[in-house]
Symmetry: C2
Subunit: 338 residues, 2 copies
């Protein structure tokens, strides 16, 4: 019998805590008998949500934590001072080997800082990249890195490319994922100093399927499965995606609501539109993994509902079963030797 | 009587040359009796387009040029080797003081390189930024820099902020334009090394109305009138804007065309939708100026039609009348003294 996957769920993180993380985790439990859930947070409030749900009691436990790290708190200070927070306690369980993965909708900064400081990086990993999936015309692609470590060097980008490729292959099931370097022109000699240095290194890397530079206009068209970039640019891409999408869709909605005639038109296209735009819903995918750590840390959206938690937990099983960290480690020891 | 504004139009640049640049320029002539147009390019082909138009002959002349710089050509080499191109000849007219402005839909790289090499920078300008207008919920904002000079330093960003503010005030009529620094968090201490260094400098600059950091998700919401950023990030923003917009709108269109019912719905919302999205049309605004040069150089979209050329020429008059370059110069000599 395959082993269990022990997943800590931060029950206090996100806009709808504790109800949605708890419900989502229980849904995942029901879908996969491989999962064991450990909730961290205020025991009484977690029990209240659980009271309404039916679930296998032997696969759920609570590790009480009395503090909550708020989104506005400076991450480093919060991690250091709030030792009894649901976030710090959860990460410690992974660090001590009592859990395989940690999932949280809490403060992105605290998850990033805490993940690196408490769970710690795999030996040889230079930086732990945050790698969300972004919607494209051809399915979801991985944007790596959107994390807190800005001003990356070329060697970091190569590691991101390899780690991102392993993730897309093993967890998302993309065979031979295409890796693109986000750049401001398609030709090899284009770009800033970082891109010019990274391009030949990516080209020489045998572990990846490098397809060259990708201009930002081609990102939503699915020009690659793994978009490699430095964290500052990655963060700009991620947030602009969200911003342009929401402004455009609200403009379309306003246009539909602006006259009686267009309101009727809106009713007639509603179901088709909803279906077509579903793929562009960031919540349709699981959370963003912070890769390269000794264990798995996943950041879900602050506004995550049960569905996103459930999908994320199922992806944690996949991550564990495909031994993603083992494969990252194998690559690193190979490059260390050479 | 106010003086004439002499504008060179590259008749051979862009997807619809020479017809659309020539028609657009003639439209501008008819709207403003201040404009004189000089077309550069193949005389015979320009004359063919002019033959169908009525216009004041004394305000139009042609400077023949036999070569054309193609979009795919490496810019530096093209500028050096194609001395008889419509682009090089046009820029030389500005350099020699025979024209006030140059407008082209040709190769962006060649316009950027040629503008700096031939027209040359105003003394004290460290870099000449390319500054397109981008659509937002609250009207158009300036994105500065999207040019070819990547890896800018903090002092460059401060100049961009001042130059961009002068442009938005004098040419676009925005009183006290809000300047935002594109960053990955709202707090002062956020960002990469460049942003951390630039933030206090922008804050200390008295010539601008600095509103602090702006996250990429707030760019389409019109969080500032002038978005200051380094060229690599600016280019990513500009192109991702275009990419996300076109993929989303084509998704909406596909949804509308997917069933007979939704097609009828589409007809009912068509006029309202068109109106609402008009502001998001990049061609609704004039071209992107390359600022800080001794003269004005404007890059219009490769796919520009007559309307965009016409608008661009009218903006050139505004640029000239408001003495934008004089104001940039005044700022520079003030900072030189201090």
């Amino acid at each position: 019998m395959p082993d269990k996957v022990r997943i800590v769920v931060d029950a206090m993180g996100g806009d709808y805590a504790p109800a949605e993380p708890v419900r989502g985790a229980i849904e995942a439990l029901q879908k996969s008998d491989r999962i064991e859930v450990i909730f961290t947070g205020e025991e009484e409030r977690i029990r209240q949500v659980l009271a309404d749900l039916s679930y296998p009691k032997d696969r759920v436990r609570i590790v009480p934590a009395t503090q909550i790290i708020e989104t506005a708190e400076p991450p480093v200070k919060a991690i250091q001072s709030k030792k009894d927070s649901s976030l710090v306690k959860g990460l410690q369980l992974v660090h001590k080997g009592e859990a395989d993965a940690f999932v949280s909708s809490g403060s992105t900064g605290a998850v990033l800082v805490g993940g690196q400081a408490i769970v710690k990086k795999i030996r040889g990993v230079m930086r732990a990249p945050l790698a969300p999936l972004i919607p494209t015309n051809k399915g979801a692609s991985l944007l790596i890195d959107c994390g807190a470590s800005v001003d990356a060097r070329a060697a970091h980008l190569v590691q991101f490319a390899v780690i991102g490729s392993i993730y897309m292959k093993e967890v998302q099931g993309i065979r031979n994922p295409r890796v693109g370097l986000v750049n401001i022109g398609a030709e090899e000699e284009k770009g800033n100093a970082l891109c010019k240095e990274a391009f030949p290194l990516l080209q020489a890397c045998r572990e990846i399927n490098f397809v060259g530079n990708v201009e930002a206009r081609d990102i939503p068209k699915g020009a690659a499965d793994v978009y490699v970039t430095e964290a500052f640019v990655g963060n700009v891409i991620l947030k602009l995606y969200e911003g342009v999408g929401s402004v455009l869709l609200s403009t379309v909605k306003q246009a539909i609501m602006s006259s009686p005639k267009s309101k009727i038109g809106g009713l007639l296209i509603k179901s088709e539109l909803k279906k077509a735009l579903a793929d562009f819903d960031p919540h349709a995918h699981g959370g963003a993994p912070l890769l390269g750590l000794r264990g798995l840390v996943v950041k879900t959206h602050g506004s995550s509902r049960a569905l996103e938690f459930c999908n994320t937990l199922l992806e944690c099983v996949q991550f564990h079963d495909q031994d993603v960290n083992g494969k990252i480690q194998a690559y690193l020891s190979k490059t260390e030797e050479s």
